[in-house]
């Protein structure tokens, strides 16, 4: 219980964001209307994904310097969970775009960039499957992971900023922070983001422990 407080915190924060996100006050804006509440569910997915990819890069760097199998397992499980959050982020974004932009997949640099970044991480998983030997697999996939991370940042966060885009916060558009004058939206968004990040890390540690048991089973027998 003492060690697991952050898991309960994550659950509580998500519960709070669902309840208060649907009931709380939001600025009345044209076009977006009440769909603005999706900000509490769409944006935290990307926060969680970025955190998990960051953990994965850190553990890949650690693996290269330590050759500890655990670090490799943390790296790959972070990417596995990160991809799930990325897909959820794309899904919530598509639902939102369907209501506000008129189509589920308009040709927008932010959506395209996110989809391509996902392809990059799926390629990482394919690369892992292509390699048989464990040590070699861990080392080479760590190298690819570190190589791909800055490209992902450029693709998702730098390029859309100076391209024409429909997405808030990209292409010179204002983000929702500019409309949130009394900070009532930030009071839900930030806890929601923290909650999803914690849940993401929890999922990652669960999967990591499963993988570790499997690995130890295989090596002992």
């Amino acid at each position: 219980m003492k060690k697991n407080w952050w898991k309960f915190l994550g659950l509580a924060l998500i519960f709070y964001s669902i309840v208060w996100g649907l009931l709380g006050p939001v600025p009345a804006l044209a076009i977006v209307n009440e769909t603005i509440r999706n900000v509490y569910f769409h944006v935290p997915m990307w926060f969680a994904m970025l955190t998990l990819y960051l953990i994965s890069v850190v553990y890949s760097i650690k693996y290269l310097s330590s050759n500890n199998t655990d670090h490799d397992l943390v790296a790959v499980e972070s990417i596995n969970v990160g991809i799930v959050f990325c897909l959820l982020g794309l899904l919530t974004g598509m639902i939102w775009a369907n209501f506000t932009w008129g189509a589920a997949w308009p040709n927008d640099p932010k959506t395209n960039g996110s989809a391509i970044a996902t392809l990059m991480y799926l390629a990482y998983l394919v690369l892992r499957n292509a390699l048989e030997e464990e040590q070699k697999r861990a080392r080479i996939s760590a190298v690819y992971n570190i190589f791909a991370f800055p490209i992902m940042i450029v693709l998702m966060y730098i390029l859309p900023k100076n391209t024409d885009s429909l997405h808030p916060g990209a292409g010179g558009n204002s983000g929702f922070g500019d409309f949130d004058l009394d900070g009532s939206m930030k009071a839900v968004l930030y806890p929601a983001a923290l909650g999803w990040i914690l849940i993401g890390i929890w999922l990652m540690t669960l999967r990591f422990r499963m993988r570790k048991f499997e690995y130890e089973n295989d090596t002992v027998s």
Binding site: M120, L127, R139, I140, F147, V154, I158
Partner: protein
């Protein structure tokens, strides 16, 4: 100083090896010319957007084919011999520089052939050429490292394609945008931001390659 000397002699070795057989470079040039010709037969005439996009797609596939070979044309034992002589950084740096030289040549030839066969008015040919050369250098710096990774993973060309295509897309998007501007005859000063992004991506990839390659080649 020591590193530079190693890099210089390794590049010299690569060029001499290539000059003796002329296999890779001739093959790739033939590949580019025949692809351009096939496209010409298929399309006959093109509007400007398609002209630009088609050129970059041809160049992309040509460079993947050219650079794919960079770590497999020599036998494993000979590579082991190089690793005993030179440091890992010198080896990757020499490969990157050699591939850059090759890509600059290749992309210039591709541009020339393409522009002659598909006639198209270019608003700012100089900026277009600069973009093509920068693109060639960028492809070389990214694909060299990826081909190193793919070579370690049993070197199948499918793996090379799925690893490199998502990674090259940011650079390709910027390249297509700048070259489209060049076609429309916009001046260089409008494109400084994009050119800076291109240079920045190149610097990042070369730096990461230098940092990571020592971990990659060790077996």
């Amino acid at each position: 100083m020591h590193l530079l000397k190693e890099v210089k002699s390794l590049i010299h070795k690569d060029i001499v090896l290539e000059w003796r057989s002329k296999y890779a470079i001739n093959g790739v040039i033939l590949y580019v010319v025949s692809t351009v010709f096939v496209c010409y037969q298929a399309f006959k005439s093109l509007d400007t957007t398609t002209w630009n996009a088609l050129f970059w797609i041809i160049l992309l596939f040509a460079s993947v084919n050219a650079i794919n070979k960079s770590f497999v044309q020599e036998s494993r034992s000979r590579q082991l011999y190089y690793y005993t002589l030179a440091s890992a950084r010198a080896i990757i740096l020499s490969k990157i520089v050699y591939n850059m030289l090759m890509m600059v040549m290749l992309s210039s030839i591709a541009y020339l052939v393409y522009a002659v066969i598909f006639e198209n008015p270019l608003g700012n040919p100089l900026l277009y050429l600069v973009t093509v050369i920068l693109g060639g250098i960028g492809f070389a710096s990214l694909f060299t490292m990826v081909s190193g990774i793919a070579a370690k993973a049993g070197n199948n060309s499918t793996l090379m394609a799925i690893l490199s295509f998502p990674i090259i897309i940011p650079m390709l998007l910027v390249l297509i945008k700048v070259s489209k501007n060049a076609m429309d005859g916009l001046s260089c000063s409008i494109n400084y931001g994009e050119l800076l992004v291109l240079v920045a991506i190149n610097v990042i990839t070369v730096t990461i390659s230098l940092l990571l390659f020592p971990y990659l080649w060790r077996d």
